[in-house]
C-alpha cells in the first residue's frame, strides 16, 4: 500500500488511538526526549553568529517538524511507509529479528560495558580487559562445569589480552593506552 492509500478515511476511535499510543509508547518517550534536546539546541543556536547557525537551525526545525508529523501519524493510525522494499535491517545486512529485544537484558548488557569502560579509565586498559573477559565468560557461559568453568575463561582472557597487546603495542604502537588508569 502506498502513502495515499494508507491515509485513514475516517477519524480513529479513542480505543484505536489508545492502542496505537500503547504500541508505540517507547518511540513516543524517545521522541519527547529528542524534542527537548532539539529545543535546547535551537535556543543555544541563537548565541552563535548567523553564518554559523543558519544551516543547523534549518535542520533542527525540519527534524522537529518531521518528528511532530510522525507523532501525528501515530495518533491517526497511519503508517506512511510508501514502498514495499526491504525492511530496515535488511539494509543493514542482518537477519536476526530486531523486534522483541528484551529491555532488561539490553540494560544488563549495557551495565557490563559501562563497567568495563569505567575500569578502562580508572584501573587500566589491559588489566580491565583481562578481568572483564574472564568475569563475563565465567558468569555467562554456563555450559562448562567443574574445574573447566574456571579454566576456560582464563584461556580466553589471556588470549584476548595478548592479542590486543600485540595489535595495539607491537603493531600500532599506541603506548598512550598504557598510561590510562593506575595499572597497565
Amino acid at each position: 500500500m502506498s502513502f495515499i492509500e494508507r491515509i485513514p478515511r475516517k477519524l480513529p476511535t479513542i480505543q484505536s488511538v489508545r492502542n496505537n499510543v500503547q504500541a508505540e509508547a517507547p518511540l513516543l518517550v524517545f521522541y519527547t526526549v529528542v524534542l527537548l534536546v532539539l529545543a535546547f539546541l535551537y535556543i543555544n543556536s541563537f548565541s552563535l553568529r548567523v553564518e554559523s547557525a543558519r544551516i543547523p537551525r534549518m535542520v533542527i526545525v525540519a527534524t522537529i517538524a518531521i518528528i511532530v508529523l510522525h507523532i501525528v501519524t501515530i495518533f491517526l493510525n497511519f503508517n506512511p511507509s510508501g514502498m514495499t522494499g526491504p525492511n530496515t535491517e535488511e539494509f543493514l545486512e542482518e537477519d536476526i529479528e530486531i523486534s522483541n529485544v528484551d529491555l532488561v537484558s539490553l540494560i544488563r548488557e549495557m551495565i557490563w560495558i559501562v563497567g568495563y569502560v569505567l575500569g578502562f579509565f580508572y584501573i587500566g586498559f589491559f588489566t580491565t580487559t583481562a578481568a572483564f573477559v574472564y568475569s563475563y565468560i565465567f558468569v555467562k557461559d554456563k555450559d562448562t562445569s567443574g574445574l573447566r568453568r574456571f579454566i576456560v575463561p582464563g584461556y580466553w582472557s589471556i588470549g584476548v589480552t595478548v592479542f590486543l597487546y600485540f595489535i595495539l603495542i607491537t603493531v600500532l604502537e599506541v603506548y598512550k593506552i598504557l598510561r590510562i588508569g593506575i595499572l597497565p
Binding site: 525492511n87 536476526i96 529485544v101 578502562f120 586498559f125
Partner: protein
C-alpha cells in the same frame, strides 16, 4: 582515455603490492562474516581504526578484502543451518538448505562459491569499463549539484530502508545535527561543544560507527541469549565439483542474474536482499520446468548468489562515482574516505582514480579468494559456528572499544563511543533504523560545505546558486518525482495509462 589507461597501469601496480592486505581482509571478513549478526558492517567498523596507521591504498585494500568476504560466508550458514549470515543470503536458503537436507550440502556450496565469484567479476569488470563515462559524469557536478545529491539521499533512503520512513528521516536529521558539533566550516566558530575541548574538532568519525553498529549489535546479540550459532554438527555430503559444473551448465542464468544484481546494487538503498530475491524470482520464471524450486534446485542457489555478489560491484557506482552510499557497508566505506582525509563525492573519481581502481580490483580479488578459501576449507569454517557466543562477545567488545581509542588516541573518544552505543541500543529497542543516521553523519560534512561553496559561487544568490543549470533542475526533478511516486497509490501510473488509452479514438 590514454591518461586513464596509464592510471590503470599505475593502480594495478599498487594493487599487486597491496595484495597481502586484501588477503588479511578476506580472513577477517570470513571469520566475522560467518557469525550471523556480525556481517559486513561490523567487519568494516572493526577494521577501519586499524587502517588509520596505513597509507590509503593499504587501508582500502584491507577494507575491500573484508567487504567482499562477508557476502559469500553469509551463504555458508544459510545453506548449512538455514540461518543466513546476512539478509542478502536469505534467498539462497530457499533451495540451499533443502539441498543440505537431501545430502547435497557440498554441491550447494560449490555452486554458491563459483556463482558468487563469477557474479562479482562481471559486475566489477563492467564498473571498470564504465569508468571513462563515469568520469565525464563526475566532472558535471559542482557544489550545488552535490548539495542536491545529498538532500536526495537523505530524503529517499529512509523510505527505502524502513517501515518507519518518517522516523528514518528524523534520525537522518539527528545524524546531520551531530556533524554540526565542532567548528563551523564558514566561520571556524565552535558550535554545540558546550566547552568540551574534545568536541572542538567535531565528533570523531569512528565513534558513531563503532557505537551504533559494533557495540549496539553486541548488546542485541547478548540480550537474545543464544548459546551457540550452530548447536549440532553439520555433515558435509555431496560433490563440490558437481556444484561447480552446475554453474557452467546454467551460465546464461548466472549472467542474467549477475546483471540483475549489478543494476539493483547501483540503486542507492535498494539493498542486497531485494537483488537476490528478484534474481531468485527470475530463475523460477525463466525455468522451463518450475517443479522442485524450494525443494533443493541448484538454480535456486546460483541465481541469488550471483546477483548478491554482483550487487557489490553495482554499489560502487553510486558510492564512488557520486558519494551516495548504496548500503550500510558502503556508508562505512565512505566514512573510511573521510577518516583518511578524503571527501566522498563525485570528486573522488576525479582526484582519486588510482584508489577507485585499487578498490575495484581488491573487491573482485576478495570475492575470488573468499570463494576459493570457502570452497576448500568450509569444514574448518563451520567449526567456528560451534564456539559459544558468550565467549566471542567480550572479545569483540574489547576490540571495538580499543578501536575507538586508536582513532585519535583520546580516552574521551571511548566515552563518546559508549554514548553512541547506548543511543544505538535505544534505536534498536524503539525499532528505528540506524542506517539513515549513519548516512547523514557521513554526508553531513558534504552538505554544509557544498551549500556554502555554491552560495559563494553565486555571490549569495540562493536561486542562482541552487535552482539554475540543467543538472540542478534535473536533480530537483528526480528528487520530486521519487518522493511523489512514493506517495502515490500503487498502480497509479497503470491507471493513468489505461485512462489515456480509453480517451484515444
Amino acid at each position: 582515455m590514454t591518461a586513464l589507461l596509464s592510471e590503470f597501469a599505475t593502480a594495478f601496480g599498487i594493487f599487486v603490492s597491496n595484495l597481502p592486505w586484501v588477503f588479511v581482509g578476506v580472513l577477517v571478513g570470513m571469520f566475522l562474516g560467518i557469525l550471523p549478526g556480525m556481517g559486513g558492517v561490523v567487519t568494516l567498523v572493526l577494521l577501519l581504526p586499524i587502517t588509520l596507521s596505513m597509507d590509503k591504498f593499504q587501508a582500502f585494500a584491507l577494507l575491500s578484502g573484508g567487504l567482499g568476504a562477508t557476502t559469500f560466508t553469509g551463504s555458508v550458514t544459510g545453506i548449512l543451518i538455514n540461518t543466513p549470515g546476512t539478509s542478502s543470503n536469505a534467498a539462497t536458503v530457499i533451495d540451499g538448505y533443502p539441498m543440505t537436507q537431501r545430502g547435497e550440502a557440498a554441491t550447494a556450496l560449490g555452486a554458491s562459491a563459483v556463482s558468487s565469484a563469477a557474479g562479482a567479476i562481471v559486475a566489477i569488470a563492467l564498473f571498470l569499463l564504465s569508468l571513462p563515462v563515469l568520469l565525464d559524469i563526475a566532472l558535471l557536478f559542482g557544489p550545488s549539484e552535490v548539495f542536491w545529491l545529498v538532500i536526495g539521499a537523505l530524503l529517499v533512503i529512509p523510505f527505502m530502508v524502513g517501515d518507519k520512513p518518517l522516523a528514518g528521516i528524523a534520525t537522518a536529521g539527528l545524524g546531520l545535527i551531530m556533524t554540526f558539533i565542532g567548528r563551523a566550516p564558514q566561520t571556524a566558530e565552535t558550535r554545540f561543544a558546550f566547552g568540551q575541548t574534545e568536541l572542538f574538532d567535531g565528533i570523531p568519525i569512528l565513534a558513531p560507527l563503532i557505537g551504533l553498529f559494533a557495540l549496539a549489535e553486541i548488546f542485541r546479540l547478548a540480550s537474545i541469549n543464544q548459546k551457540t550459532i550452530v548447536p549440532e554438527h553439520v555433515e558435509m555430503t555431496g560433490s563440490r565439483l558437481k556444484g561447480v559444473k552446475a554453474v557452467f551448465k546454467h551460465k546464461w542464468l548466472w549472467l542474467r542474474c549477475s546483471i540483475i544484481g549489478l543494476i539493483i546494487g547501483a540503486v542507492p538503498g535498494a539493498g542486497g536482499a531485494s537483488s537476490s530475491f528478484i534474481a531468485y524470482g527470475h530463475a523460477v520464471q525463466s525455468a522451463s520446468d518450475t517443479d522442485g524450486f524450494g525443494e533443493g534446485r541448484v538454480e535456486g542457489v546460483i541465481a541469488p548468489e550471483s546477483a548478491n555478489d554482483a550487487k557489490d560491484g553495482g554499489q560502487l557506482f553510486p558510492s564512488l562515482a557520486l558519494g551516495i552510499p548504496g548500503s550500510a557497508s558502503m556508508a562505512v566505506f565512505l566514512a573510511g574516505l573521510l577518516a583518511h582525509g578524503m571527501f566522498p563525492g563525485p570528486r573522488t573519481l576525479i582526484d582519486e582514480m588510482p584508489l577507485v581502481i585499487v578498490v575495484a580490483l581488491s573487491l573482485v580479488t576478495s570475492n575470488i579468494l573468499t570463494s576459493i578459501i570457502g570452497y576448500t576449507f568450509v569444514n574448518q569454517f563451520t567449526k567456528l559456528l560451534r564456539i559459544p557466543v558468550q565467549r566471542l562477545l567480550p572479545a569483540i567488545t574489547v576490540l571495538a572499544l580499543a578501536a575507538a581509542f586508536i582513532g585519535r588516541n583520546q580516552a574521551a573518544d571511548v566515552t563518546i563511543t559508549l554514548l553512541f552505543a547506548i543511543f544505538g541500543a535505544i534505536l534498536i529497542f524503539v525499532d528505528v533504523s540506524r542506517v539513515p543516521f549513519l548516512i547523514a553523519f557521513v554526508l553531513g560534512v558534504l552538505l554544509e560545505q557544498n551549500f556554502y561553496l555554491a552560495e559563494q559561487f553565486a555571490a549569495g544568490d540562493i536561486y542562482e546558486g541552487f535552482f539554475t543549470g540543467w543538472l540542478n533542475q534535473l536533480l530537483i526533478a528526480v528528487i520530486a518525482v521519487t518522493v511523489i511516486s512514493i506517495l502515490l497509490p500503487d498502480g497509479f501510473f497503470q491507471r493513468v495509462k489505461r485512462s489515456l488509452w480509453r480517451l484515444l479514438p
